[in-house]
């Protein structure tokens, strides 16, 4: 009983031939044999190798940069600094999982005037080999004026905090500030009457939380190869979640038209939101232009930790009230999230998510986006939601315990459903939180006892929006009756197959008869990032529509062949029929290929429909009171997938997100010294879960079809990371009686809490 699919009785499941099966993924053989080409694997003729010089200081004015010694070294081909990038526009654009301001992006790619965090890229070198490039980078002389640094969000909000940007004025609906500060934005949402709501409550709980900075932790470091040719055309092979958004960012940063740029998405070794904003592509491009050769620029692991990602550390205060019957009456949140060195972090979605699982009539949310001397934060799987869920879901747990109500029942009683208004405004369409909690409640895990000392069980749930956005696809019918699907969504987790399956289902052929290809930006229509859990939903819709386009053409051509009207032709599960004529898609395609022009389907979509996702966890833990180490004994994750196209890869998303959530809960954090230097920039010291740290992750796929998708798909990629830290925190409470309010709940932190409680 470990991986199950639940189709709630409230929904009527359709029968499919391909969807819901588990074919081998199309790119699988390349990936198990080492043939798949990732960006760092690429080697072009006469290619140079690049290396960065990064700031050793968390906050420093750059007085001067002297590159002469580096340039004089044998083998050095070019050196780049921010002076080689055009003056940036002050312009903000939505890139699918958050906004990017180009002035900030340019300043992040190569520091201008100030280094704002340790590891901030200051210069880069291209040389004939990597060792020469690295040595030369160290020969660049930078004169710094070191400034005081700030790395804790509440400190950064103080009046007298070191100021990162003297032109940053808080964006707020209230009074416009007259003085710059580190607060980039103040968000405020409210509904109902908060005073009245708390007055109606019998139980009110208010708690404060702190979470540390964590990294997305993809195993592949950022890497690009750039070739900026003498004809002005720039070609980039890169590890990215969005080739078209890389093209857009390059055009803005380098001030050249998008039509001059081709971005080739290589296989990508994980992203989780951290490979959307560009780092090395514009730098490699500038180096290539300067030396007239292709340039590879790949990061080392410590550069990935110190110079990319991470996702926000936070301070949160959440207060909630409920009647003794267990009805939530009011909720209030005050959230401050790290933005990192530049404004525009994850506070927007964090503020929108904090109460999104519940129907709460009276609520206010205040959110603050705070710059400080850490790398610019980036999206990490349901960005901003995990922190917020920790606060809300542990307060909910405390209220349930206080009221003596079962924690799943308490959540069910207050769960958001179709028609519930979210605190930030929108009203929910058909969603599946109730069904997900119900599935959890009926699971074997929930109904089996947990016994033994120092053990506890916790539950929590989580929400993520999921995105629609733009996708394009083309599909060519081959003369053997197979179909080549051409699309532009970099495949991080098996989406070639989930798209091919939707095309196959629509045409009535087998998944194996579709050959999906992820192509470059010259070869397919605009497609937004692989992010926001959108690919199987949105690019899947494009694949479906391209298949319908093919089907229309097949009908017309069959009508010509069979001398009838297109309307006379019946299509059923891939069989085309009229009178005595009856042919499968394949038979007809083979025949048509010799009787006329090729059949090419195409589609471009920009769906607005909602695809909201919900997830809920049960976790059993055992705490070692001697060491403070928490062992995960059993873990179940339930999630509404709408419809699981390829259940194995849906389970994979659920399991992967759960284990990232376990790492966030128990171990992962950036350690800073008092000068703002990260002290654990390696996989040894930044402790991500290994196979030895976790049990099997049991999954329950709940299928409440999304009415806005032909097969009912909701995005599945992100929401699984949201509940685990809260569920684990609740389980630790049951095991120890301690309410922990600081992530990660690492052994020293829990050990100290146990010792303090025991009066030691």
């Amino acid at each position: 009983m470990s991986n199950v699919i639940v189709q709630p009785s409230s929904t009527r499941p359709r029968k499919y031939n391909v969807i819901g099966t588990r074919p081998v993924r199309h790119d699988g053989v390349d990936k198990v044999t080492g043939k798949a080409i990732y960006a760092a694997d690429l080697s072009l003729p006469n290619m140079a190798q690049g290396a960065y010089l990064r700031s050793p200081h968390a906050h420093a004015r750059i007085i001067s940069i002297d590159t002469s010694q580096a340039e004089a070294m044998p083998g050095v081909l070019a050196v780049a600094t921010s002076a080689d990038l055009p003056d940036p526009w002050d312009k903000t654009e939505e890139l699918g999982e958050g906004c990017i301001n180009y002035a900030h992006l340019s300043g992040n790619v190569l520091a201008r005037k100030k280094a704002l965090y340790r590891g901030h890229a200051v210069a880069a070198v291209a040389a004939t080999d990597i060792h020469t490039a690295q040595q030369a980078a160290r020969q660049i002389k930078v004169e710094y004026e070191v400034l005081p640094a700030v790395t804790w969000v509440l400190d950064a909000m103080e009046e007298d905090a070191p100021l990162l940007h003297d032109n940053l004025f808080t964006q707020t609906l209230g009074e416009k500030p007259t003085k710059p500060s580190n607060i980039g934005q103040h968000i405020h949402f409210e509904q109902g009457d908060i005073e009245q709501g708390f007055a109606e409550a019998d139980v009110v709980i208010e708690r404060e939380y702190r979470t540390e900075t964590v990294h997305q932790g993809y195993i592949e470091p950022h890497a690009s190869v750039a070739l900026w040719n003498e004809d002005g055309r720039l070609k980039i092979w890169t590890a990215t979640q969005g080739s078209f958004t890389v093209r857009q960012q390059l055009a803005e940063l380098l001030k050249i038209p998008v039509s001059k740029i081709t971005v080739v998405p290589c296989e990508i070794g994980g992203g989780f939101g951290g490979k959307i904003a560009v780092y090395e592509p514009p730098v490699a491009a500038v180096l290539s232009r300067k030396c007239g050769r292709p340039v590879k620029l790949a990061m080392r692991r410590d550069e990935v930790f110190e110079g990319t990602g991470p996702t926000p550390g936070s301070f949160m205060r959440v207060k909630m009230g409920a009647t003794k019957e267990g009805r939530l009456t009011a909720a209030k949140a005050w959230l401050a999230y790290d933005a990192g060195a530049f404004p525009g972090g994850m506070i927007g979605p964090g503020s929108m998510c904090v109460f999104s699982c519940y129907d709460i009539p009276n609520a206010t949310v205040d959110g603050y986006d705070v710059v400080l001397n850490k790398p610019k934060t980036q999206a990490y799987r349901a960005p901003g939601a995990t922190q917020a869920a920790l606060a809300t879901e542990t307060v909910i747990d405390e209220i349930a315990v206080e009221l003596g109500i079962d924690p799943v029942d308490f959540r069910l009683q207050n769960a958001a459903k179709e028609g519930t208004r979210r605190v930030d405004g929108p009203t929910y369409p058909r969603i599946g939180l109730v069904e997900t909690l119900q599935a959890l409640k009926e699971s074997e895990h929930w109904n089996s006892p947990l016994e033994g000392p120092n053990r506890g069980r916790g539950v929590a749930c989580g929400f993520w929006f999921n995105a629609g956005l733009k996708s394009s696809a083309a599909a060519n019918v081959n003369d053997d009756g197979t179909v080549t699907l051409v699309e532009g969504s970099p495949d991080i987790g098996g989406t070639r197959t989930s798209l091919a399956m939707q095309l196959a289902e629509t045409l009535g052929i087998a998944a194996e008869e579709v050959h999906p290809q992820v192509v470059d930006t010259d070869s397919v229509g605009y497609t937004d990032v692989t992010g926001g859990s959108r690919v199987t939903f949105s690019t899947g819709l494009a694949a479906h529509k391209a298949a319908l386009d093919i089907q229309d053409q097949m009908i017309k051509r069959a009508a010509e062949l069979w001398e009838c009207q297109p309307d006379d032709i019946q299509v059923d599960a891939g069989t085309y029929g009229y009178n005595d004529h009856k042919q499968t898609f394949k038979e007809l395609a083979v025949e048509l290929s010799s009787t006329g022009e090729a059949i090419v389907g195409r589609a471009a979509v920009n769906p607005q429909g909602s695809t909201n996702a919900f997830s809920a966890n049960i976790v059993d833990v055992e705490v070692d009171p001697e060491t403070g180490k928490v062992k995960i004994l059993r873990f179940t994750t339930a999630q509404d997938a709408g419809k699981a196209i390829h259940p194995s890869y849906v389970e994979g998303q659920m399991q992967g997100g759960s284990v990232q959530g376990i790492g966030w809960a128990l171990n992962e954090e950036y350690f800073y010294d008092d000068r703002g230097a990260m002290k654990n920039a390696s996989f040894l010291d930044y402790r991500m879960p290994t196979s030895y740290d976790v049990p099997m992750i049991e999954t329950i796929i709940v299928e409440v079809p999304n009415p806005d998708h032909p097969f009912g798909v909701r995005g599945v990629g992100e929401v699984s990371i949201v509940p685990p830290p809260a569920a684990i925190t609740n389980a630790i409470h049951q095991a120890t009686g301690l309410r922990m309010h600081h992530l990660p709940i690492s052994p020293p932190r829990l050990h100290q809490a146990i010792a303090e409680r025991n009066g030691q």
Binding site: V32, G34, I37, G269, G270, F272, G652, G656, F683, M696
Partner: protein
């Protein structure tokens, strides 16, 4: 929990003290000290005799990837913490980023490129595909090599033994569940093939 009996432990992937000292020096940024005179090495890679010239400071990983275009082994960390660069050296899995290229002299090296034989996937590869044990795939070559080594040494590993043997290979995408199950499936197939 008692310690598993087989020898394929993550700790043993660090091949020698000499290697460790070398990487420490590299990390201190002292590679200028190393002599850049080319060294001739004769070795066997995937069953074929191979000769190459390398710098003393080059790791086996760098040599395989940049020198011999065997890019199946990946660089995730370059300091022995992720296992993405795992290859077999004299029948033991090693992190090739922590082995010097010169140490390949007279050794037998097997990389992920050598695991499928004559157009036939190895059962471990087959089971990874069928079990959906990869998402982004960057960790996969390292896992395939480590798992093959594990099953050669311990054909009937328990779940805990598998988890222990693979603890030096990081995967950020899968949560390990499907990897472990695929290893169990491969162990069964290999066993059936034997009997």
């Amino acid at each position: 929990m008692s310690s598993p009996q087989h020898t394929n432990t993550p700790a043993q992937k660090h091949s020698s003290t000499r290697t460790l000292q070398h990487t420490t020096a590299l990390q201190r940024g002292n590679e200028e000290r190393f002599v850049t005179e080319k060294i001739h090495v004769s070795t066997t890679i995937n069953g074929e005799a191979v000769e190459f010239l390398c710098d003393a400071r080059q790791s086996l990983l760098e040599l395989l990837r940049d020198g011999l275009s065997l890019t199946g082994c990946k660089e995730g960390c370059n300091n022995g913490n992720c296992g993405a660069c795992t290859v077999m050296m004299n029948h033991l899995p090693v992190n090739s980023c922590c082995v010097l290229a010169v140490e390949a002299e007279d050794a037998e090296i097997e990389t992920v490129e050598g695991i499928a034989a004559q157009g036939q996937l190895h059962p471990v590869q087959q089971c990874f595909l069928q079990g959906a044990a990869l998402q982004c795939g960057i960790c996969t070559p390292g896992f395939i090599v480590t798992v093959k080594a594990l099953l050669e040494q311990n054909p009937h590993p328990t779940e805990q033994e598998i988890r222990f043997a693979l603890a030096g290979n990081l995967c950020r995408c899968t949560g390990y569940d499907k990897i472990i199950r695929s290893v169990q499936a491969a162990a069964e197939i290999l066993q059936e093939a034997k009997s």
